[in-house]
């Protein structure tokens, strides 16, 4: 087969294509976004969901129907999808369901560096982790096979450097999976307590079987070098370790859960010094020690940030002296022609307390505006803003606003808007939706509010102002803050002065996406004319 230089994300997409995946879905999030985009380019059926929970549920439904489904998200997205995930472990699947969790150690583009390996243990699901593109491809294919064989969702955990790193990959001949078909299994899929109790036992039995499989699988790689030093590692850390200590012996784990403890025990016993080299939390080290295996692990400072070859050398040398600081370059900032500038200028002028959210506009927190007071999670601007309004003295409460982007509003902001209508603060509240017509931060993906599919084809369109009106928000306005900055400010000042619920949709296209949006709109209009002409 043809060799190619591909990113880890592209490798997973290639595996989805060659593995005959029927449906790929997810929500954009660095570093996972490119998987579904690449799968779509390969001709796969891929779509964006409004959020990760919905994506996982769509994938689960497809897998209940006997299909192979791929669901992708960044690490924090799995928090949103955790509710169906944990019970999907009980129900299992009929086809295959692979969930990609793309973690971001070092937070190149995230609000935390949570280590999602813990999810595999918490949800009792198998987890595989690749260290380069070839492994991303091979393990994604292996994950579909495992999922089908044990009828369980499988988590494929990746990290930024594997997702975005490129390395050489050889593809395999494509396989044709079974055709989807519905088979009724009420006790297996309806998780009332009476059916869930045996389901829990079934799950633990599967994990026991998977442990036996993990102990023996050749997916875990052992390299015999010297006896003086043995390194147990996983993911990208394994690549750094192989370079940092070329003469050592290595056990590279690809099956992170269940963990092949006996294989690790035998490996540790075969070397004089056994060191666990892993990025993030001491996930492997804690489990290996709990099994009574004496191993050395990294000192606490190496829990933070990414590892690289230099840091692994320090771990191996037990060197905890201060590390040299990484070069501090120029931080990213709002584009010069970003339509959000007039909004931030007003917020600063009025000294608002801004409960913010996640997206490009979070960059408004930097000078000159410093225009955001909180940013926690997708959609949190609504709840946090309302909580502040509920408790602050009136003078301050009336300065509080919630600020959210269009894609983030659709993602989980709408839930907070329901809360705003249901539990309105005494002083009212103002929500500003920065609607630039795209999911800008992750590279201009479509979402339900744009009315276009992942491939930019016209589809059903969710109206943000329509939703707000339907929910019963008293004042709902749409304004273009770029064409009419004076009108925007006047409107905002008026709404902030009222003790009522207000939603202002500040709508102006993302400067990076505007030309493309015009092109897609034109194509859609032409298509509409053609189809009308055809019928006439």
């Amino acid at each position: 087969m043809e060799r190619r230089l591909l990113s880890g994300d592209e490798a997973v997409a290639a595996a989805a294509g060659d593995g005959g995946v029927h449906l790929g879905t997810g929500y954009p999030g660095t570093p996972s976004t490119e998987i579904l985009e690449a799968f779509s380019r390969l001709g796969g059926r891929a779509q964006w969901a409004p959020n990760e929970k919905v994506a996982l549920e769509v994938g689960l439904g497809a897998a209940f129907g006997g299909a192979r489904a791929l669901v992708t998200m960044k690490h924090v997205g799995l928090n949103v999808a955790a509710d169906p995930l944990f019970t999907a472990a009980y129900t299992g699947v009929s086809g295959a369901l692979v969930v990609v969790s793309a973690d971001d150690p070092g937070m190149s583009s995230s609000q935390n560096e949570q280590d999602n390996r813990h999810y595999a243990v918490a949800a009792s699901l198998p987890m595989l982790e690749p260290s380069d593109s070839q492994e991303a491809y091979d393990l994604a294919l292996a994950a579909f096979e495992l999922s089908e064989r044990w009828k369980l969702p499988v988590i494929l955990r990746m990290t930024t450097r594997v997702c975005h790193g490129k390395s050489i990959l050889t593809r395999r001949p494509a396989v044709a999976p079974r055709a989807p078909a519905f088979e009724r299994d009420i006790p297996g899929r309806v998780m009332i307590p009476a059916y869930a109790r045996p389901a829990h036992r079934r799950l633990r039995k599967k994990i026991e079987e998977l442990l036996a499989w993990a102990e023996a699988t050749p997916l875990n790689v052992e390299v015999r070098g010297g006896r003086a030093l043995g390194i147990v590692s996983a993911g990208i850390a394994a690549r750094h370790a192989r370079e940092a200590a070329p003469g050592a012996s290595f056990l590279e784990l690809k099956t992170l859960h269940p963990l092949p403890v006996e294989r690790i025990r035998a490996f540790a016993a075969s070397v004089e010094r056994c060191v666990i080299v892993e990025e993030g939390d001491p996930f492997l080290a804690e489990r290996i020690r709990a099994a009574g295996i004496a191993v050395e692990s990294k000192p606490e400072p190496f829990r933070f940030g990414e590892l690289d070859v230099a840091r692994v050398r320090r771990i191996l040398a037990r060197d905890t002296s201060p590390e040299p600081e990484a070069p501090r370059g120029k931080p990213p900032m709002l584009c010069e022609a970003c339509p959000y500038h007039p909004v931030y200028a007003t917020l600063r002028k009025l000294d608002c307390i801004v409960a913010g959210d996640i997206g490009c506009y979070t960059l408004g927190v930097l000078p000159p505006y410093q225009g955001m007071d909180t940013c926690v999670a997708m959609g949190a601007s609504l709840g946090v803003g309302l909580g502040l309004r509920h408790v602050l003295p009136e003078k301050d409460a009336r300065r509080v606003i919630s600020l959210i982007g269009d894609s983030t509003f659709i993602h989980t902001g709408v839930n907070g808007l329901i809360e705003m209508v249901y539990n309105p603060p005494a002083t009212g509240h103002v929500l500003v939706v920065l609607d630039n017509g795209t999911t800008a931060m992750t590279g201009q993906q479509e979402h339900p509010g744009t009315g276009r599919t992942m491939e930019h084809e016209p589809t059903g369109k969710v109206s943000i102002e329509g939703l707000a009106r339907a929910l019963g928000v008293k004042n709902v306005d749409v304004i273009d803050p770029v064409r009419d900055p004076g009108g925007w400010e006047k409107l905002f000042v008026d709404r902030l002065g009222r003790r009522e619920l207000s939603v202002i949709v500040a709508r102006s296209p993302c400067i990076l996406a505007a030309a493309d949006i015009r092109k897609w709109e034109k194509a859609a209009a032409e298509k509409a004319v053609v189809s009308i002409g055809g019928r006439g």
């Binding site: 230089l5 044990w150 490129k166 050889t170 997916l219 590279g443």
Partner: protein, 200 residues
């Protein structure tokens, strides 16, 4: 150092069949690749491309990685996207040789540092090894280029003088990375850069 036979999964993986009665014969889960010899890796060439978001840092490193790939080398590449379109600092690591392990270049071990933005030169200089070669943005006068946006390709032209990779592959990779309407200007930019650099 030898790698254990089958370490990289020469045998296909099968689930324990006795536990799955009624299921038709186990399908093979693809095995992992068999890596090279496992010997101490030969010398790897380390190149860092640096600049600001929107300048074509990633495009330049993609082209370089593709040239090395076309030349039959093992190649790895690492970078951080995400915020890169918002004008912030971007660096991309490209490593190639007989066998590459980590995709990231350890700080202070870059053989070549190609910088597209004057303000980033001092910021990224510590990444370069003591004997490394800096290819600064002012090596090529932007005004001499048919299109200033081709500075990334022009600096690749300069880099090409230092690397033992055939010129024809560079031009193939440049073309493969760009739409046809940009081929001519970028080929010219590449040649201008190549002429500006003197082979060491």
């Amino acid at each position: 150092m030898t790698e254990r036979a089958g370490d990289r999964g020469a045998q296909p993986l099968r689930a324990p069949q006795q536990d799955r009665p009624g299921e038709s014969g186990g399908r093979e889960v693809p095995s992992l690749k068999v890596e090279g010899t496992g010997c101490v890796p030969a010398r790897t060439t380390n190149v860092i491309v640096a600049g600001l978001g929107g300048q074509g840092v990633i495009k330049a490193s993609d082209i370089l990685a593709d040239v090395a790939f076309r030349a039959g080398k093992d190649v790895k590449k690492a970078e951080v996207h995400g915020m890169s379109q918002r004008g912030g600092s971007v660096t991309s690591d490209v490593r190639f040789g007989d066998h590459v392990e980590s995709p990231m270049i350890p700080p202070g071990e870059a053989d070549y540092l190609l910088v597209l933005e004057p303000s980033e030169v001092e910021v990224t200089r510590p990444l370069l090894s003591k004997t490394g070669v800096l290819i600064p943005p002012d090596l090529v006068d932007e005004r001499s280029l048919p299109n200033r946006k081709s500075l990334n390709v022009a600096l690749l032209g300069a880099l090409s003088r230092h690397l033992d990779l055939p010129e024809a592959l560079w031009l193939e990779a440049v073309k493969a990375a760009l739409p046809e309407r940009l081929h001519q200007v970028n080929e010219k930019a590449f040649r201008i850069g190549r002429e500006r650099a003197v082979r060491p």
